[in-house]
């Protein structure tokens, strides 16, 4: 097998050596090559040839089939397979193209496995390291390079160069400072620490945007709600405010509820309003267990007790759901008394979370 080394050798590098002594059983060398059925039986080889040719021969048929499907099959036709339903065009496009690719691949692999020469060949390895000659050349020449650059004699060039290279990155970084507004104390107070809830803003159903009267809510009922002034917003502003202001209005039997003394007057006869945004990572919480008064977040299963000031009873959330103080307006609709007293939604570093359970107005 000497001819096999010709293409792999690098001038000067040592062929890796093998310590034969460390083997308890001497290396007997490669196992003898055994012919395949297709090597010894011409009929088997012919059969394999036909198989490969059939795989390849089907490809043009399928490729043309793809084009026919593309132009001929309408997009609104569906095929039913018992409980499964498939768009005819999508299915046929995928089947023709997918099978064409598959047959081309299978044909090629079959050809290689059955018909191509299957004698194993040997390449010899060389150490990954470069040879001593190369190393010495590099060392001596690099030494000359340094000399020729005069950098060793004129050190000031090297020092200023380093400083220049380090500071040239500065403009590139500074250029990114406008990626977003800076969350300074003032900015936070205008953004993540406030919502569009304000005194007198009506609590409205989040689908119909109709205001809600207490008498229309039954005990045990929960209504997904929004502030009425959300409708005035559009586009990203709408999404940003909705992501903070979404609430749930829930009515429970007043005898079942524990109202902390600091939150007397925040509810209307057993009707309470909480932020719908989970204090864990901000998913909207919406799985309501009517009998236990628990509200469960479908993302990470944090569970809050709405009958006990929104406290966490299970899961990875730490802080209770912020409660929105509500009242009735002159027409008898539910309105907010003011904005949340603590920022709703997930925690952030500068958030003052000392008073979440004890907030007073």
């Amino acid at each position: 097998m000497s001819e096999d080394t010709a293409h792999g050798s690098k001038p000067g590098s040592e062929v890796a050596t093998v310590d034969e002594e460390r083997y308890p059983v001497p290396d007997p060398g490669l196992e003898p090559h055994l012919p395949r059925l297709t090597d010894v039986d011409e009929r088997a080889a012919d059969r394999a040839t036909r198989q490969v040719a059939t795989f390849f021969g089907l490809v043009p048929v399928l490729a043309i089939g793809f084009a026919v499907v593309y132009f001929a099959v309408p997009g609104d036709s569906y095929l039913d397979f018992g409980p499964l339903r498939a768009n005819t065009r999508n299915l046929l496009l995928g089947l023709t193209f997918g099978l064409a690719l598959l047959f081309l691949g299978v044909g090629a692999v079959h050809w290689a496995r059955k018909l191509m020469d299957d004698h194993e060949m040997i390449d010899y390895r060389h150490g990954a390291a470069s040879n001593d000659d190369d190393k010495n050349y590099m060392l001596t020449e690099l030494d000359k390079v340094v000399d020729e650059s005069k950098i060793t004699r004129r050190k000031i060039i090297g020092r200023t160069l380093l400083a220049a290279l380090a500071t040239i990155l500065l403009p590139m970084l500074v250029g990114l400072a406008d990626l977003g507004p800076w969350p300074t104390k003032k900015k936070r107070a205008e953004t993540i620490e406030r919502t569009i809830w304000a005194p007198g803003v009506r609590v409205v159903n989040d689908v119909t945007f109709l205001p809600i009267k207490p008498e229309s809510i039954e005990i045990g009922q929960l209504i997904n709600s929004e502030p009425a002034n959300l409708q005035e917003l559009e586009g990203s502003e709408y999404q940003i405010e909705k992501a903070k202001a979404a609430v749930i209005v829930v009515r429970m039997d007043p005898n079942d509820i524990t109202i902390p003394p600091t939150r007397e007057g925040w509810n209307i006869g057993g009707i309470l309003c909480y932020s719908k945004i989970c204090t864990h990572v901000g998913c909207p919480i919406s799985l309501w267990e009517q009998q236990t008064h628990h509200l469960l977040c479908p993302c990470h299963q944090s569970t809050f007790d709405l009958a006990d000031a929104g406290k966490v009873v299970f899961g990875p959330a730490n802080r209770p759901l912020p409660q929105l103080p509500i009242a009735l307006d002159s027409e008898g609709y539910i309105v907010a008394q003011r904005d949340f007293l603590v920022p709703p939604g997930p925690s952030f570093f500068e958030r003052d979370s000392r008073y979440d359970t004890t907030v007073t107005m």
Binding site: P24, E31, V40, L99, V106
Partner: protein, 578 residues
């Protein structure tokens, strides 16, 4: 290629000398253009090392190929999708052909995804192929890395390639997540909401990172264009560069090979790139491409029109990320609700530790493992013959322990589905996993190590006593015994070629070493004892000879003609004939 089981006694294959041939018609046709090219590029010289380069054959080497090929499919299908997808969060009214959503306000990103799915012929197919290819890409990278780990292919000189692989896996996760977020449907928006909560939770700088990433408050109108840039430009470019480096190193090092007769640290045995691997690997690319296409045709994935446009006040139960983020999701779900409120600050450990902490730990442990093992063994030599996993029980046990921990987190990512499908309490599943994520890996470690040592014993048994033949002899005395057949010299070599790595006793002679050196060396020796003290020592030459002698003796008494545990060396030497 697998060796046929039975020996064919007489060589029937003809190996006649090929006569000098006339060049074929294709060669004649191509000679003009290739000469033109060669005159300018030295094509023949460039191609010479590669034309017949040898690669070894094994099914497990295909895992990395699947990763590579699904990446190519991702690029091809991704280019198609970019022709119609609009990465914009501006609000539009949907007027496409999907009637259930017509008239609804949504982002342009979501509307164009619907357009791709319903109005562009083949759009849905390509969308589903793209998503499936992403899931397969990361699965293939992960299983490929397991193959590398369990066979010790990360050892010198391949540590850099291991690190490149770890980087590609990390980039793959980010790339997949960015793509998952682009359609701006309810599920992908929920994913972004989660990421917003995750980066907010970074101590000290979280709010700044949030505002810089989203261009202000969540969700804003910049995150999808930004993720789009990451998804189709920055990360694919990085991945392409790393793939090029990864493959270049594979070519330079030459591929590792599994142990076997004639396969040594000094050679590589296999088939040449042309014609065998051109057909096999090229064909395999087409097979991967074809299977992904069939998956896109027949298996629905991410039906965004069912979820509806993103609405920050809505969510679906059973919301889940793609499978590869499941371990992070699980960590987040089973984490206790630890949060510090110090002064006017909030330290959200309940989100930061399982989210960013677990991901960092995962990649850091992967990245440093090769160097830890190299430090323990003190081995500075190159390794090109793979380990059989049993022959390094502690490494294998570490790998299975890591997989077990990953699996516990992954189950945690679907704790709600486990609860509903198996009718168990969600709370119990969560509490169980909080313990299991620490205990299960330890159990897996101990069990795996024992299994490996058991397999080593069975190897040693074959070496010293031969293979069980299934033939029971009855001696005149009435004693039953099973006849053992000798194993082949090839198998005997394979079972014993590995290195026995020593468990070292503490140093006693410490002359000329500094305090620090002694401490380091004692610690290393302690680690070698942890690693190798239980490992079965392979039989030595003397033991094998002794066993053969004993065997012969026993057989002589039993009147059996076979004298050896290993078949004797035949008259003629190596079977390297072609």
């Amino acid at each position: 290629m697998a060796q046929p089981a039975e020996t064919v006694p007489d060589e029937t294959a003809v190996s006649a000398e090929t006569p000098k041939k006339e060049l074929g018609p294709v060669f004649k046709l191509a000679s003009g253009p290739t000469k033109w090219l060669d005159d300018r590029t030295g094509l023949a010289g460039l191609g010479r090392p590669f034309l017949r380069k040898v690669f070894p054959d094994h099914w497990s080497f295909l895992l990395g190929e699947i990763a590579l090929y699904s990446f190519v499919v991702l690029i091809l299908s991704g280019i198609f999708l970019t022709l119609w997808f609009k990465p914009s969060m501006s609000e539009v009214e949907y007027q496409g052909s999907y009637e259930l959503l017509r008239g609804l306000h949504m982002s342009d990103a979501y509307a164009s995804t619907l357009n791709l799915s319903f109005d562009i012929r083949g759009g849905l197919l390509l969308r589903q192929m793209h998503h499936w290819a992403a899931a397969v890409f990361i699965a293939a990278m992960l299983t490929h890395s397991l193959r590398i780990f369990f066979t010790g292919a990360f050892r010198k000189p391949r540590e850099i390639n291991w690190l490149i692989g770890v980087a590609m896996l990390g980039l793959g996760l980010v790339e997949g997540f960015a793509g998952y977020s682009l359609p701006d449907d309810l599920l992908s928006g929920t994913g972004l909401r989660f990421v917003d909560g995750l980066i907010r939770a970074i101590p000290l700088v979280g709010t700044w990172v949030e505002f810089f990433a989203f261009g202000g408050e969540f969700p804003g109108e910049l995150i999808i264009p930004r993720l789009y840039m990451l998804h189709i430009l920055l990360i694919p470019a990085l991945l392409l560069g790393l793939i090029a480096a990864h493959l270049a190193l594979v070519v330079y090092h030459k591929h590792t090979q599994y142990p076997g007769a004639g396969r040594t640290a000094g050679n590589v045995v296999g088939y040449p790139v042309f014609p065998v691997y051109a057909a096999k690997a090229g064909g395999f690319f087409l097979i991967v491409f074809g299977v992904l296409t069939l998956m896109g045709a027949t298996m629905q994935i991410n039906p965004v029109w069912v979820f509806g446009p993103y609405n920050p006040a809505e969510i679906t139960a059973g919301s889940q990320p793609d499978w590869y983020m499941g371990f992070v999701e699980g960590a987040i779900r089973i984490m206790p609700n630890w949060e510090w409120h110090i002064g006017s600050t909030t330290w959200s450990w309940n989100v930061f530790l399982p989210g960013i902490g677990v991901m960092t730990l995962f990649f850091a442990v992967m990245a440093i493992y090769p160097f830890v093992e190299a430090w323990v063994t003190g081995d500075k030599s190159e390794h090109h013959v793979l380990d059989r996993p049993r022959n390094n029980p502690t490494r294998t046990a570490f790998g299975v322990a890591a997989m077990t921990g990953y699996a516990m987190l992954w189950i945690g990512g679907g704790n709600d589905l486990v609860a509903t499908q198996f009718h168990v309490s969600l709370n119990s599943v969560t509490y169980f996993l909080r313990v299991a994520v620490f205990v299960a890996p330890v159990l897996a470690f101990l069990i795996t190590k024992r299994i490996c040592i058991g397999l080593q014993r069975s190897d040693a048994d074959r070496m010293l006593h031969g293979a069980e033949s299934g033939i029971i002899d009855r001696a005149p005395s009435g004693k039953y015994s099973e006849r053992h057949r000798p194993i082949s010299r090839f198998e005997a070599f394979k079972l014993t070629q590995h290195e026995d790595l020593p468990a070292l006793l503490p140093l006693t002679e410490v002359d000329g070493m500094s305090e620090k050196e002694i401490k380091g060396e004692q610690r290393r020796r302690k680690a070698t004892r942890f690693y190798f003290i239980d490992t079965l020592r392979r039989p030595t030459r003397a033991e094998i000879e002794e066993a053969a002698h004993h065997h012969m003796h026993a057989m002589a008494i039993e009147g059996d003609g076979e004298h050896h545990a290993i078949e004797p060396e035949p008259e003629e030497e190596h079977h390297l004939a072609r």
